[in-house]
Symmetry: C2
Subunit: 277 residues, 2 copies
C-alpha cells in the first residue's frame, strides 16, 4: 500500500518535475515546494481580499466625514481638466521594492482646504502668516451647519435672514453648490455661490463667527474674490474653510474637528474635517 502510494506520488511529481529521477529527489523537491508555499503564505493575508470600501459615516453615525476625496477628476481653480494625477507611485512591490511608496503633488488650495491670511494680504505673507499659524481652537469645537437661500450669493441681506445667534463661532454654509454637486464635476464652474464682500463685512461686524466654511473652492463669489477674502482674512482671527462636502447631513449643531496638515510657508493647506454628534 505504502509502496503503491510512493510510486503514484513519484509518477505525479516526476510529471511536475521531470528531472526528479529518484524518490530522494522527489522528497527534496516536495520539501522545497512546501517551503516555498509556506514562505509565500506568510507574506500574504489569508483568504481572498474583499474590495476596499470608502465611507462618509463612521462609528454608527457618530462621525461624518465632510472632506472631499482628493482625486484626479476633482475640480481645480479655473481649469477645465480637473486636478489630474496628484499621487504618483515612485516605488512598487510589483517591481521588486520592499514596499509601495508614492509621492503627492497638488496646489495648496486643493479640495477641502483652509486659507491662510498670507493668501490675499502681502504684508501677512511677508510676516509669515501661513496656515501653520491658524488657531487650532478655532478649528476644533461646536459648529453650526446652516442651509442658505438657493437664489443668490451670500449678501448682507442673506446673512441677516439666517438669524445666526450671537455666541456661535463656527458656521458651515451649505449652498446651491452642494445641490449642483459642483465638487464632483471635473470642470471648474465660476457660477458657484459664495460670499459677496458686503455679506462678509456684515458677518465680521454683526456676528461672533470665527470659522466660515463653504461648499465650493472659494468662500468668495467669483465676481468679488479680492475684497471678500480681504474682509475675512484681515483680522487674522477668522479661519476660511473651503471645498467642504456637506451632502446628506442634517442642519444643526455638531462638534467640528478640522485639522489641516502642518506645513511651513503655505498660503493654503488641504485639511481633513469631520463632524461628531
Amino acid at each position: 500500500m505504502y509502496n503503491a502510494f510512493k510510486l503514484s506520488l513519484s509518477i505525479l511529481v516526476s510529471s511536475l518535475y521531470p528531472k526528479a529521477r529518484s524518490m530522494r529527489r522527489v522528497q527534496i523537491l516536495l520539501l522545497l515546494a512546501v517551503c516555498k508555499w509556506v514562505v509565500t503564505l506568510a507574506g500574504r493575508p489569508l483568504g481572498n481580499v474583499p474590495a476596499a470600501v470608502r465611507r462618509e459615516v463612521y462609528d454608527n453615525g457618530r462621525i461624518f466625514d465632510i472632506t472631499h476625496m482628493i482625486n484626479p477628476r476633482m475640480p481645480t481653480w479655473d481649469s477645465k481638466n480637473g486636478l489630474g494625477e496628484a499621487v504618483k507611485l515612485v516605488a512598487s512591490m510589483k517591481n521588486g521594492s520592499i514596499d509601495n511608496l508614492s509621492e503627492m503633488k497638488f496646489s495648496s488650495h486643493t479640495g477641502t482646504h483652509v486659507d491662510a491670511p498670507s493668501h490675499f494680504i502681502e504684508e501677512y505673507f511677508e510676516a509669515g502668516y501661513d496656515t501653520s499659524t491658524l488657531d487650532l481652537k478655532t478649528l476644533n469645537g461646536p459648529a453650526l451647519l446652516v442651509d442658505v437661500p438657493r437664489s443668490s450669493n451670500i449678501s448682507a441681506q442673506v446673512m441677516k435672514s439666517l438669524k445666526i445667534p450671537k455666541g456661535i463661532r463656527r458656521v458651515l454654509f451649505r449652498t446651491l453648490n452642494t445641490d449642483r454637486k459642483l465638487m464632483f464635476k471635473k470642470e471648474f464652474d465660476s457660477s458657484y455661490v459664495g460670499f459677496l464682500s458686503e455679506g462678509a463685512k456684515w458677518l465680521v461686524q454683526n456676528t461672533d463667527i470665527k470659522l466660515v466654511g463653504l461648499d465650493y473652492l472659494s468662500v468668495a463669489a467669483y465676481t468679488d474674490l479680492n475684497q471678500t477674502h480681504l474682509t475675512l482674512l484681515r483680522s487674522r482671527k477668522i479661519v476660511v474653510l473651503e471645498g467642504l462636502k456637506l451632502d446628506d447631513i442634517k442642519p444643526g449643531l455638531y462638534n467640528l474637528h478640522c485639522l489641516p496638515i502642518r506645513v511651513l510657508g503655505a498660503d493654503g493647506t488641504p485639511t481633513r474635517c469631520i463632524l461628531m454628534e
Copy 2:
C-alpha cells in the same frame, strides 16, 4: 494768508512733482496722491504686522499639537539631505498676481503620517486599501501616551513590562527618539528605536490596541521593517501612525484626534494630530 499757503503748497508740490506748473495741476496731483494712499491702505491691514507665532499648545493648555511641521530641514527616509523644498510659490502678489498661491510636493510618508495596509502588502494595494480606507473611529478617541524603556527596541518583553490595560485601543509610544530629537535632525538616523516583529506580534495577540503611534519615521526598527509592518497591517484593523511629536507632554490618557488628508490611492498620508485634555 491763504495765498501764502497756496504758494508754499505750490512750491512743495512742484518740488515733488516738477511737471505741476499751475495750481489746478497741483490740486489734481494732490487728489491723485491721496486717492492712491487711500486705495493702498484699504488693501492693507492697519498698523504694523507683528511676526507670526507658531504654537504647540492652544486653548489655555487644552489642545496639544503632536504633529511635526513639514519643513525643508526635516528628515526623510534614508536621506542625508532632509526633505528639501516641499512648498513652492507658483503665483505671487509681489509679481502682480491677485493672490499668493503655492504648490506642495512630498513623499506620502513625510513627517507625521499614517501608513495604509497597501504600503507593505501587495494584495491590499491591488484591492485599494489606501489611507482613505482607514477607520476614522480608530483615529479619533481616547489614547494613552506611554514612555518606553530607553535601552532597546520595542520587543515582546518591553511590551509585557508596560502593562497596558485591556480595553486601551490607542497607544502613543514615546521612546529615545524623542529624547534624541531625531525628527529635528536633517540627516536620517537608522539607529532610531522601533518595534521588533516579535514585539508587534505580542501587541496583536495580547492587547486591544488598534492604533500604534511612534516618534520617528517608522513604527518598525530599521532591522525589522518588513515583518513588523506585515504583522501590524495584515488585519487591516490597526492604524500605524509615524513621526509623532511627543515632546513636553505628560504621560497619560488624552482624547486623540488624528485626521490624515483624504487622498485616493496613497500608501501613506501626512496627518495632523492633536491631543485634547
